[in-house]
Structure formats: structure tokens, C-alpha cells
Amino acid sequence: MAATDHDDIQPADARPRLGSITLAALALPGLLNVAHAESAPTDGVISVKLQSYDDRQPGLDRIRVIAPSLYVLAPVASNWALEASLVHDDISGASPRWHSAISGASHMSDHRTAGTARVTRYFDRVSVGVGGAFSEERDYRSRAASLDVRWSTPDNNTTLYLGAGLTRDDINPVNGVVENEHKRSNEFMIGVTQAWTKNDLVQLNVGHVAASGYFNDPYKLVDKRPRERDQTTVLARWNHHIEPLGVTIRSSYRFYRDTFGIRAHTATVEGVHPLGERFTLTPSLRYYTQGKADFYYDPVYDPVIGEPYPPGRPRLSSSDHRLSAFGAITVGAKIEWRIDSRWSADFKYERYEQRSNWRLGGNGSPGLARLSADILQIGFSRRF
């Protein structure tokens, strides 16, 4: 057979037809119209979780909360994602007590419904999200809106985060002490997430909230707080994967400061341990410490009058234990079970202990009973 140029058919204007193998190849994903680094999730998720919180002080069961919750994540088209969540708290128990002397507990029962929704649009290396949240209780209603922007570098190792939000709350305590009070807050946050090595991810966030309005606790006899509260937080967190063990250590530290005069530190660490192919065990530890607010006064129980009165007649005062100086430790463990490629289940138990003498450096507020709480969560999740 002599060398021949079979300069065959295929005139320039022939309609190109695609053979079966070319068609099969075109069906492979990721070869045409490849999206950028900030890409929408490919899988949707539905999760339900039942959470319960149960706290007590010595000799007194205090608050019990049972909260079923639902979360949905749905990718839409190829560049959008929708997220929504709903939670309903059933709250029952004694209203808050502050100190070791106990007067009669007043029982209460309340409900709270809260939800969030968020829409995110993904562009080349940038994603923008808009979200809203609401919370409804008999005496408190909250509405919030937020905007967030994430921008990634081309190598996808660095992501910058910018967030802004505003919250408007309406307060109508059932005891009628005040009516139609409001609280507004505006918040901003900037953050950076960085892949340090192939096994390390770190994040640093700095946030600021400027809030004004009604901060008092209307259910306490004497509680007068400022009408402004600015808060600043700095959070650093670090996920470190240890390859030979398959274990991941997650740790974080948060510094908090506000214009009530409170400074707080929070440190957490947890270790994710795979157990076989399907299970994961994550023990966790959290330490929290806070100083007291400038206007906090130690409660002294008066056997005649009952509820404590602040010495003198200060303009601002509160004996709310949440504004006192104390430390708290949470110990917990979570088990996750990957049932198959779509279903998974999880169970978590935590024990929370709050004690004034656990404050970092000592000098916890005196006269406060220790608080213990059991927190349980059980959940199911399906990918679709």
C-alpha cells in the first residue's frame, strides 16, 4: 500500500457530528465550565436534632429546656445555596436564683421559637450571603439581618471574611414593669482563614458590636444597667490534623471585652478520633472565665426584705449572676455514626459547671451558688 493522503471529506461547512465516545467524554464533570474556588455546595443536607438542657443549683432544680431543631441546606442551580433553620424551645422550671440562700422558687413555663434563613451566591473566588433571623417568646421578640462576603486567593489557601449585621429586639415583660422597650445592635466582623500546612487550618476573627436600648432584667427587683453596651471579641481557632493517627485536634481561644466592664476568656479544645470506618468519638473541654461588670454588686440576702438591695443608692446596679465574676468548665463527648454514604447520626453529652472560685486568678464573686447543667443532643442528618 503506497503512502496516500486520503484527504477525505470533512468540508469546512459540514455540520460537525459527535461520535458516541466524544459524547461520553463530554458527560464527564469538571471538564467544561469549571467553577471557581468559592463554589456552591454540591450536596444538600437535612438535619434534625433534639437538644435538652437541664440545670440545677444545690437543692433546687432550676431550668429545663427541650429544643427540637431542624436545619436544611439546599444548593440551587450551580451558583446558589439556601440555608434555613428552625428551633423550638420548651422552657420550664424555676426563675433564676442567684445565691446560696434560697427563697421559694417561682415556677414558670415558656416557649421560644426561632429561625434563620440565608441565601448565598457564589462567584469566581467570592461569595456573598444575605441572612435573616427571628426569635419569638412571650416577652421578647428579636429580628436580625446580616450580610457577609468571603473572598479567596487564587491558590485558595487564604479566605477573607467581612460580616455586618443588625438586630432589633422588642421587649414586653409579662410583669408589666416596662412596656414596649427596645434594644438595637449593629455588628461588624472581619476574619481571615488560612491553610498553614496541608494539615493545619487557622482562623482569626475580630468583631465589634455597638448596642443600645434596654438591657435590664425586668424580673429582678433592682436592676438598672446602662443603655449602651459595646462589645469586642477576638477569636482565634486552629484545626490540626495528625496524619498517622487520623486524629484532628480542634482548639480555640476567644477574648471578650465590653463597656459594662466585663472581660472574659474562653478556651476550648477537642479531639476527633475515628473509631473504625463508621464511628467518630470527640471528647471536648472548655474553660471560661469572666470578671464582673462595673455595676455588679454582691447579693446579700436580707431576712426581712428578701431580695438583696445594693448598698447605697447607685445609679446603676445589678446582682444578675451572669454579670458576676466566675469560672466555668464544660466537659463533654460526642459520638458520630456514619450509617451509610447518605445518613448519619450523632449523640453528644456535656456537663457544665459554673463556680465563682474557678475564676482565673481567683477573686470570684462571693455569695453565689454553684451551677451545674447537663446538655444532651441527639441528631440525624441526610445528604441529598
Partner: protein, 82 residues
């Protein structure tokens, strides 16, 4: 470890935790990963905020028991939890 003469109070335990966490970083040079070696970073346990319902409940519990709040993001809204 620490001599038993010094009582391990929770504040000191927290400090020890921080030291242990940081010490696992020693000895690794900081080398940003190439695109083909990001398999571990994509694991679920390496993601921040992988379980939104758990995070939301935790934040709610701590918001009602402690003065500090926030740090991870904006726009969660408030509540009247006293």
C-alpha cells in the same frame, strides 16, 4: 508532668491545655499546601462550623449563662434568655 504539690485548679488546667495544644505545632515548618495535597483539609472534622445546629444550641446555652458572646460570625439575633 506537674508536681503534685501544686494543686491543679481549673485556671491552671486551662493554661496547661493551651500549652499542650500549642506544643503539637512545634517542629512543623509552615508550608502552604499545594492544590493536590488538600485532601486532609477537606475533611469534615477540619471544617469550622460543620454542625450548625450544635453550634447554635451551644451558643444559645452559653449566651444565657455567661456574659460573653459571639466571635464566629454575625447576625444570629437575640433572645430574652435570662
Amino acid at each position: 508532668m506537674i508536681a503534685l504539690k501544686i494543686p491543679i485548679t481549673p485556671p491552671r488546667a486551662a493554661l496547661l491545655l493551651a500549652v499542650l495544644a500549642l506544643s503539637s505545632l512545634t517542629g512543623c515548618a509552615l508550608q502552604p499546601p499545594q492544590a493536590f495535597e488538600k485532601g486532609n483539609l477537606a475533611k469534615r472534622e477540619m471544617t469550622f462550623g460543620a454542625d450548625p445546629l450544635e453550634d447554635a444550641f451551644s451558643q444559645h446555652v452559653y449566651f444565657s449563662k455567661e456574659a460573653a458572646s459571639g466571635g464566629t460570625g454575625v447576625g444570629g439575633g437575640g433572645c430574652g434568655c435570662n
